[in-house]
Amino acid sequence: MSFQITIEDTGEQYACSETKHVLAGMQQLGKKGIPVGCRSGGCGVCKVRVLEGEYASKKMSRDHVTAEEEAEGVVLACRIFPQSNIRLSVIGKLNKAVNR
């Protein structure tokens, strides 16, 4: 089953299967809006705030998401699997390429 994901910041919308994490769903359709990093819960660049919607989640690094944040819906997009339509805003960002 697929659900509609809406990135509040850009208005971007895409369909994401309940079997794919929200970042993989975005990436495979060539959509943009959430920064893409390790896609495994370790680097933190795809951090988002879920404003509306249900999801299942996998473990994410506590260096990037505290237990309190996770309870409030602040999560890594690569670790959540949609169980309803989801509306989210982007928190994470990539560091600049070269520190010079």
Binding site: V36, G37, C38, R39, G41, G42, N95, A97, V98
Partner: protein, 306 residues
């Protein structure tokens, strides 16, 4: 004996979020071999052609990243000598008891200026590479996945960059092999304790103590392509490659483990001797230095660490 002092990267201990997924990645997909487990839940792995008991330790954790990287030194006298060097440089050291890691001798632990924990040790149980030392076969027939040959190096991001490079050169007696410079500012330093293109590398960063990647050796470009096939087959998060680095000339591909720790597998890089000149890449050519064919930086490659 030409090679003395610090011999090689001996092991890296990585924090992982899910041990079962991690073992599937490192054993089934990359081809490391499990050699032991301990009562802290740590799992010990080695690459097939390594003689020592382990070169990768996976530590169950709620965070990703590198716990520490350790180098093997030739003798107990070297261990004491480097311990003095480190203290004389102004960095504190502690001794970790033999056996704290299964099969590993006493370790000297310290935090380098860029914020990473390193250890030195002289002894580790040798279990062999599964091949007879008399009339040895060239390879093993029971390997899985990418069939990585050895743990080769780590690339790390950290602050106090200049002090850190000075520390590795002066206290640990590493040799600078290649660098990226922006005018007078060194942005990247590749360092060796052997004749390899690098045994460790550092990138100048505002963040302290970050892991960019842990790297494993393959035998050929063909094996890098096979690794790429496995990455797609097994839905492993792929980042860049197969391609060639300008730096070190290595033929390479990058991907992530199930905790977001970046891995590299590579083949056919360059080598140095103590009298080799330092190779320098200018910041204007940084794209080519890193990805020789596309000559374009990849945002995630430059900005993502664990």
């Amino acid at each position: 004996m030409a090679m003395t002092g610090i011999l090689r990267p001996g092991h890296v201990q990585l924090r992982v979020l899910d041990m079962e997924e991690s073992l599937n990645h490192y054993v089934e997909n990359m081809g490391l071999l499990e050699t032991d487990r301990d009562d802290q839940g740590r799992v010990y792995l080695k690459c097939w052609d390594e003689q020592d008991k382990f070169s990768l330790v996976l530590e169950p954790s709620d965070r990703s990243g590198m716990d520490h990287m350790a180098f093997k030194v030739a003798t107990e006298e070297d261990l004491s000598r480097f311990e003095s060097n480190i203290k004389n440089f102004g960095i504190e050291t502690t001794r970790v008891a033999a056996g704290e890691l299964n099969g590993c001798g006493e370790r000297v632990r310290f935090t380098a200026p860029a914020g990473h924990t390193f250890e030195l040790y002289a002894e580790k149980e040798q279990v062999g590479n599964g091949i007879s030392t008399t009339n040895p076969a060239p390879w093993r027939r029971d390997l899985k996945g990418m069939e990585v040959i050895r743990f080769d190096h780590c690339l790390l991001y950290g602050d106090n960059f200049d002090e850190n490079v000075k520390f590795f050169k002066e206290a640990l007696e590493f040799q600078l092999t290649e660098q990226i410079v922006d005018g007078d500012l060194q942005i990247a330093a590749f360092l060796t304790c052997s004749t390899k293109a690098h045994d460790i590398a550092f990138i100048r960063s505002e963040e302290s103590g970050k892991l960019h990647h842990a790297s494993f050796l393959l035998g050929s470009w063909e094996e890098v392509l096979k690794a790429a096939d496995i990455i797609s087959m097994e839905d492993i998060p792929h980042e860049t490659g197969p391609t060639r680095h300008g730096l070190t000339r290595g033929k390479t591909i990058y991907f992530f483990d199930p905790s977001g720790n970046r891995n590299e597998v590579f083949a056919e890089d360059s080598y140095v001797y103590p009298d080799s000149p330092v190779l320098t890449w200018n910041a204007d050519n940084v794209g080519q230095a890193i990805f020789y064919h596309s000559r374009e930086l990849v945002d995630s490659f430059m900005g993502v660490t664990s």
